[in-house]
């Protein structure tokens, strides 16, 4: 191929503009044995971008536990696969779309949902549920309201149209996200165990097929600059935002699943970040093969697209697959029926090289394997964060009025009801949602069976900020606990690691700390990581996001009739607290919202206690002895009981055991590994003796009665007043009234 002389002298500086370091460019020269052309340089730069290569994080991700007897496929494929019995697997993953959502919240969030759905159905699964984890800036920040409206609109707009229920998630606010919101989306799908599809290409001579939407100039990184430098065409600055087309995605799901029911597909891969580039490299690379593509055959939305543009386009709703030879017509019939583009664009070769042709010329010719084998990997320097002192409960003032403090807490942005959000999501479509949003974990029936999956996303960034290691462990433990609360057996997690600039040692320290904490928790709880995603550089200036390792977990209910919910059921029943209360107030919501302090060490995480207490609670739920269950998390025991009361409108009288923990610390402390259970009087008595025998701390803390919440006979507050407060903030805020 010929490289025009004018291009050559620009190439090295262009490499810098494309984000390749001097060393990386040198490495690229070595691999190629010559100077790359623009297309090739573009390919190197996206393949080796942080986003695609995980070059700063790989070293640490490798340390996460990823195996268990039920793990069918861990990290490395499009999504993780776990065996859920009965010949079925659950396939799931979580992914970030932070930056695009900040630029254009509706489309950014929408395409985030589209992308994660594709990761899951690419593997042969029918998506059955979506979840999302959202972090916004200070509600008072001028941008926040618009961002919330756009992101929620986009998630709903996409998910509702595609017809996959959005069943859960979380949404909190903190000034540290003012300039960098986090939008993490998770999809869970179901497939038959023997019908899982992988990206690994095989079979020299097999056709490479493109399906879905046409390729446009969407989201091409640096495209403007490239065309300016190379004078391809002078145009108005191209938007780098992609627009989602959920209708096409829905058709793509149905068409792919229809084709997957045949045996025509050898391998399949969605075109996500870095589109055709990463999908073709991934398929060929995993199969140890070469691939030849005729770019003229790629369905294009716009005229005169260059090879560079076609390869780097991030147009949505596209897939690449390898078919068995001779099956093209059969496949084409299916895609025609669904009115989707279908094109054979290339073949698999034995050369080990990616060769692109356009207009009869070679547009790129590069080896496949070395790009991933010699991919840069960095051991970035990191410093551990100084430990924060523990806050003694006695040093924290008690509130003047406990009931008012409770009201303040359940009405604050982080704890306020997120109904305004989830009512914009169709959370019931597909007809299997057993636990709608509002519980600890969503519960979705496995269609046509008596079993169900439980799923949730969680993370407490303020703990991670205070102590990354504890925070990382806590996030995994809270997910495990929330799945336990509905009576399900936790199986595995996916994660989305959202951090600042990894070139700053203290940020890297947060990352390493969180990973270490997560690893410990995963090991202790037999809760491996099967997929995940990393989003770095979430900072503007010197302010970065709170370290936020969002964790999404999946568990199984072997008998869906045993599933449990948070709402109080019956006056006269008693409340039992499982787990030890020491009154830990450091880094608590009480400290932040009532005392305006964000200091202190987070509550310690005792993984052995987590496991013991959780297993104990789950067994009682499965045995049918529990009538409601909720874990203690943000805001502590008092908030947990209030949430149980608000769910159904019944009240409770708390009578807390006397001891050395001050009352306010007992009520608002955020000690981990705790659950509140509603039980019939007689069952409670049995449970308390069982707990004693098994070494599980448990105590009777009250009974269900009336429509008020009281503490030791004092501080009465009506549940309806609590509910009104809890429901008020978000709608008022979104309409500009708060």
């Amino acid at each position: 191929m010929t490289v025009r002389p004018g291009q050559q002298k620009n190439m090295e500086s262009l490499a810098r503009e494309f984000g390749l370091s001097a060393d990386e460019y040198k490495l690229a020269l070595g691999i190629l044995g010559r100077e790359p052309n623009v297309t090739e340089l573009g390919i190197f730069s996206v393949m080796w971008s942080e986003h695609c290569s995980y070059k700063s994080s790989k070293k640490w991700l490798r340390t996460l536990p990823t195996t268990a007897p039920w793990v069918v496929c861990g990290p490395g494929e499009n999504a993780g696969v776990i065996d859920i019995g009965d010949g079925m697997v659950a396939i799931f993953k979580m992914e970030s779309h932070n930056h695009p959502s900040f630029i254009e919240p509706y489309q950014g969030a929408a395409t985030g949902v589209g992308g994660i759905l594709r990761d899951v159905f690419t593997m042969g699964a029918r998506p059955i549920a979506n979840l999302n984890s959202l972090r916004f800036g200070d509600p008072k920040h001028p941008k926040t309201r618009t961002l919330v409206a756009g992101v929620v609109g986009g998630i709903g707009g996409y998910g509702n149209c595609v017809g996959v229920p959005t069943v859960g998630g979380e949404c909190t606010f903190h000034a540290r996200y003012n300039g960098n919101i986090l939008v993490n989306a998770m999809t869970v799908g179901l497939a038959a165990k023997d019908r899982v599809f992988y990206a690994r290409a095989a079979g020299i001579g097999n056709p490479v097929v493109y399906v879905g939407s046409k390729t446009g100039r969407d989201g091409i990184h640096g495209a403007t600059m490239a065309s300016a430098v190379f004078g391809a065409e002078v145009e108005a600055k191209r938007p780098t935002v992609q627009v989602g087309d959920p209708f096409t995605e829905k058709l793509l799901i149905e068409a792919c699943l229809e084709l997957m029911a045949t045996d025509a597909i050898v391998s399949i891969q969605d075109m996500g970040a870095a589109g055709l580039t990463s999908s073709s490299f991934e398929m060929a690379g995993k199969g140890g093969l070469g691939i030849e593509i005729n770019l003229d055959k790629v369905p294009q939305r716009e005229q005169g697209m260059s090879a560079y543009e076609i390869m780097l386009s991030e147009s949505q709703e596209r897939m690449l697959m390898v078919l068995k030879q001779g099956r093209e017509a059969e496949a084409q019939r299916i895609f025609d029926k669904w009115e989707l583009d279908f094109a054979v664009i290339g073949t698999l070769t034995d050369t080990g090289r990616l060769v692109l042709r356009q207009g009869g010329q070679v547009a790129a010719d590069m080896p496949v394997a070395p790009l991933s084998e010699q991919m840069p990997e960095y051991a970035r320097p990191w410093v551990p964060l100084p430990a924060r002192p523990t806050v003694a409960a006695a040093s924290v003032p008690a509130p003047k009025d406990y009931a008012i403090a409770l009201k303040t807490l359940i009405g604050c942005p982080d704890l306020a009801s997120k109904r305004w959000i989830y009512e914009q999501y169709d959370h019931m479509v597909m007809g299997d949602t057993l636990q709608r949003p509002g519980g600890d974990a969503a519960v979705v029936r496995i269609h046509g069976s008596d079993r169900a999956l439980a799923m949730t996303t969680d993370c407490t960034p303020r703990y991670c900020d205070a102590d990354p290691r504890t925070g990382g462990a806590q996030a995994v433990a809270e997910v495990w606990r929330n799945i336990t609360c509905v009576g399900a057996r936790p199986l595995a997690i996916t994660d989305c690691m959202n951090f600042g600039n990894p070139e700053r040692p203290e940020i890297m320290g947060q990352f390493v700390g969180c990973i270490e904490g997560m690893s410990e928790a995963c090991k202790a709880l037999d809760f491996p990581v099967v997929s995940g995603n990393v989003s770095l550089y979430n900072d503007t200036g010197t302010t970065g996001v709170q370290p936020t390792p969002s964790i999404g977990g999946v568990g199984i209910l072997d008998n869906l009739r045993t599933f449990q919910s948070v709402g109080l059921k019956k006056a006269g029943n008693v409340l039992v607290l499982v787990g030890a209360t020491r009154g830990h107030l450091g880094a608590s919501l009480y400290l932040r919202e009532i005392q305006s302090r964000e200091d202190g060490a987070p509550p310690p995480v005792d993984l052995a206690a987590e496991r013991r207490n959780g297993d104990f609670v789950r067994h009682r739920i499965t045995a049918g002895k529990v009538q409601a269950c909720h874990d203690c998390s943000d805001g502590g025991l008092y908030v947990a009981v209030a949430e149980m009361a608000m769910a159904t409108g019944l009240g409770a009288a708390l009578t807390l055991p006397a001891g050395d923990v001050p009352l306010h610390a007992f009520l608002f402390g955020e000690d981990q590994a705790r659950y509140v259970l509603e039980m019939a009087e007689a069952d409670a008595a049995t449970l308390l003796s069982q707990a004693k025998a098994e070494g599980v701390p448990a105590a009777r803390i009250g009974a269900i009665s009336g429509a008020e919440l009281t503490v030791n006979g004092a501080w009465p507050i009506s549940v309806s007043e609590l509910r009104a407060t809890n429901e008020a903030w978000l709608p008022a805020y979104m309409s500009g009234k708060a």
Partner: protein, 80 residues
């Protein structure tokens, strides 16, 4: 004073609606339709204002609320 505002997708931005409409028109028996782009059209009643202020105001409204300038262009026309 009235204003008419046209909001259209920037060139190169995918228009799923336009695409679907074009397909539907083909199926309805208009195969010659080569493409459709869908935009928004707003009519604003501005009360009493002078034309120059009105035009400036409507542009500000477009920038701040009516159009999503990341992906959309807008055109303002003030009628008297």
């Amino acid at each position: 004073m009235k204003a008419r505002v046209h909001i259209t997708l920037k060139q190169g931005v995918l228009d799923p609606q336009g695409k679907a409409i074009a397909n539907a028109l083909h199926a309805l028996g208009f195969p010659a339709v080569a493409g459709v782009r869908q935009g928004k059209y707003l009519e604003l009643d501005l009360g009493n204002a002078d034309k120059a202020t009105a035009e400036k105001d409507v542009r500000t409204m477009c920038e701040r609320l009516l159009a999503n300038t990341v992906i959309e262009d807008y055109a303002v026309e003030v009628l008297t």
